[in-house]
């Protein structure tokens, strides 16, 4: 706890000191150094600067030494020892930043032996870095490529902000393990040549310091952070150098490639300050820098600053879906060699073996494989173009990887093409960039691509099935194609026949009489299922019973159908015309009738109409009626709707108004009509 308090004190002092000059960060004494300066346990902050600086240097060297030991020596025992040593060291934020030891150690967290220790170390060191949650630009959660941060506020509280930055950087860099080292972003806590430079111009390559063998201190994330102190320049240079040197080592840890790189690089570069740019110009044509020069001019034009710092959590969860380009490059070359584990070699060997008929299909498979690998290499070359130098570095530094080329992880992964390629369903996966469309799909995802599939999904077997099982499966899917089976015994085909419907079973039996003897069990099942209530008659096999019952059922159905159809047959088909005024003249609409009465134009006397309306039975057959009506009363009778005007005016009007007239005729007025007539009698009488 003494040490803890001490550390905090020293950190604060260190921040103060840093502002003033470019001396290396103050760090706590390591245990070793404490032994050397026993009397300096409680040095005054002010007086401690020179010895502190010396101690800091020593500490830094120690840490670096241990770190290089870790990286060079993958032996578990030694790793363990070195990690323990590192744990004993009094780590400061600054050392972590400068040496990048945190990253190195973190890369071992998955190690068999030292993983636990590594994890605990990292956790401990993380605690050193206090969270700064109140800064407006701190720890942005969104993906790095979309993050723009303007950190240009000239804040008077340099110390505080510097400390915050430092810690923030610390956390950020500590958490920044996923992006691949080759990205080699310029670290730079950007120089605050300060308040004077309002815009950071992108600084593509680190300053021309000869890279000390330091592990990379920063990823691109870090340099994007604003630093308000110009003395950072040195640190930045140093770290940039260390970036480069450590890049090799970093690549050993991760096989990731440049999926986030282009956007991240872009961001990071924007954030660099004037000073670093100047330094970069100084070195001019140094192209050993991992950063591709072509990006820098583009970035210089940008006015925006992008200082993105991904928090630890977002880094952990950030998924880089792109494949390992380097591996892809190797794979097509290795695929040409015959290796039993290689799929392409498998297909090529298959090709040799198969007969002419299948050789074409397997050559297709081979071609597909070749095209796949060529596609891979093509995409590989595409992505590798921006960073040729980095690629070299990555390729160089792969000491720990086993020699077996791993299959590339790629979004278009397909398992081995099956032998008869045209027969198996192909499934194509088309990753589609989910851009915001007007059509309306508004779910914009930032970190993952929307994958669109076409075709049916290739089904996979749960386990390796025997050839017998596979054949049975195929036959079950094609029962209707089974005609004559030849000599196949019933037992072999039984799984297939179990799946037959009674009709199918019957048909197969017809073609293969030998099955009839054995199939009774199947028939029994059908009987039980379809005719639950029936029971077999005497001396009847299940098959016979089923057939009998089935036939009976069919017969019943047929009879019923017949009855119904005959019942319906008597009904008239088609559209029928029915006459409304059969026994009387057609009644004109009300207003027409009024006018007829008014002007006396009602056609036909009642006698005429009644004569015509002799009681003719209403016959359903429209044809008869139509014939009659056409013969006799065509002039009077027309279609029920709207007849009165066109036809000779019938005396219908008289019928309603003068019900008395109808009495000699056998005219019946419907009861409703009678009521209505009474009701309206007053209204419509004689206007």
């Amino acid at each position: 706890m003494f040490v803890g308090v001490f550390s905090f004190y020293w950190m604060f002092c260190g921040s103060v000191l840093k502002q003033r000059n470019s001396s290396p960060a103050v760090s706590l004494c390591s245990a070793r150094i404490l032994k050397q300066f026993p009397g300096d346990r409680v040095p005054a902050a002010t007086a401690a600067e020179p010895p502190a600086a010396a101690m800091a240097d020593q500490l830094l060297e120690t840490v670096e030494r241990l770190q290089s030991r870790i990286q060079d020596n993958p032996e578990p025992r030694k790793l363990l020892k070195t990690l323990k040593r590192l744990g004993e060291v009094q780590m400061t934020v600054d050392i972590l930043v400068r040496t990048g030891v945190g990253k190195t150690v973190n890369s071992f967290r998955k190690h068999d032996d030292v993983g636990e220790l590594a994890k605990s170390l990292v956790a401990k060191w993380k605690k050193l870095v206090p969270q700064t949650a109140d800064r407006p630009n701190s720890h942005p959660k969104p993906a790095p490529q979309s993050h723009h941060r303007s950190y240009r506020e000239p804040s008077p509280e340099e110390e505080r902000s510097y400390v915050e930055e430092e810690e923030e950087e610390e956390m950020v860099y500590q958490s920044n393990y996923s992006p691949s080292p080759p990205q080699q972003q310029q670290y730079s806590p950007p120089q605050r040549g300060g308040y004077e430079s309002e815009e950071y111009e992108p600084e593509p390559s680190p300053p021309p310091l000869p890279p000390p063998p330091l592990p990379p201190a920063r990823k691109e994330i870090r340099h994007s952070k604003p630093s308000k102190n110009h003395h950072h320049r040195d640190e930045e240079r140093w770290q940039a150098g260390s970036d480069r040197g450590g890049g090799k080592k970093r690549s050993a840890d991760r096989e990731r490639t440049n999926s986030p790189p282009p956007p991240q690089k872009k961001h990071s570069r924007k954030s660099t300050p004037h000073d670093t740019k100047k330094e970069e110009k100084k070195k001019g044509g140094e192209d050993a820098r991992p950063r591709p020069p072509k990006d820098s001019p583009s970035k210089e034009d940008d006015d925006d600053f992008e200082a993105h710092t991904m928090s630890f959590e977002s880094f952990l969860t950030y998924d880089a879906p792109t494949p390992v380009k380097k591996k892809k490059k190797q794979q097509p070359s290795s695929s040409s060699h015959s290796k039993p584990s290689q799929s392409s070699s498998g297909s090529s060997s298959r090709q040799n073996r198969t007969t002419a008929s299948s050789s074409s299909s397997s050559s297709k498979a081979n071609k597909a494989n070749g095209s796949q690998s060529s596609k891979r290499s093509h995409s590989d070359s595409r992505s590798s173009e921006p960073k040729p130098e980095k690629r070299k570095r990555v390729v160089e530094a792969l000491p720990t990887l086993p020699d077996i080329p791993l299959p590339a992880i790629q979004p278009n992964y397909r398992p081995l093409p099956s032998i008869d390629t045209p027969l198996s369903p192909q499934r194509r996966k088309v990753p589609v960039c989910n851009d915001e469309e007007d059509a309306g799909f508004t779910g914009k995802r930032f970190n993952s691509k929307m994958v669109v599939y076409s075709g049916s999904k290739t089904s996979y077997l749960p386990r390796m099935m025997t050839l017998y099982e596979q054949c049975i499966r195929v036959l079950q899917n094609n029962i209707d194609s089974i005609a004559e089976v030849g000599g196949v015994p019933f037992e072999i085909l039984e799984p297939v026949l179990e799946r037959c419907t009674p009709e199918q079973l019957y048909r197969i039996e017809q073609s293969n009489q030998c099955f009839t003897e054995d199939s009774d069990e199947l028939w029994m099942r059908h009987c039980r299922r379809d005719f639950k209530r029936e029971s077999p008659q005497e001396f009847e096999s299940w098959r016979e019973m089923y057939l009998r019952l089935h036939d009976e059922r069919e017969e019943r159905l047929r009879l019923l159908t017949q009855n119904i159809s005959s019942a319906h047959a008597n009904k008239p088909k088609g559209r029928q015309v029915k006459m409304a005024f059969v026994n009387s003249v057609a009644k004109p609409p009300r207003d027409v009738r009024r006018r007829q009465e008014k002007f006396g134009t009602s056609s036909g006397s009642s006698s005429a109409s009644t004569a015509a309306a002799s009681p003719i039975k209403i016959r359903p057959a429209s044809s008869d009626f139509a014939g009659d009506s056409s013969r006799s009363t065509s002039s009077h009778f027309s279609s029920p709707a709207g007849s009165s005007r066109s036809s000779a005016p019938p005396g219908g009007g008289g019928g309603t108004v003068h019900p008395g007239r109808e009495k000699p005729q056998v005219k019946k007025i419907a009861p409703m009509m009678a009521k209505t007539i009474k009701a309206f009698k007053n209204r419509f009488s004689r206007r």
Partner: protein
Amino acid sequence: VLQNQKWLAYESSNLFVTSFLIGLLHAFCNLAGQFAENETNEVNFREIPSHVLSKVCMYFTYKVRYTNSSTEIPEFPIAPEIALELLMAANFLDC
């Protein structure tokens, strides 16, 4: 027309199948009724037509490839036309 098929022809051209088949052959020497092939590693399947036998060999390749492998096992493609014969052969060879 049934043809005599030399198992060896398939064996030699396929690395995968070799080891598998040798075991098979020892098991089948009784079935085929020929003991001479213990020396020659050759079995004549008179009953199995050649197109069926070639499919069987393909199945062996498929089996060796996907047994105890972490990749997903795709369906073994069988044309419906040969399915019956292949069924017989599979039953005969018990594979």
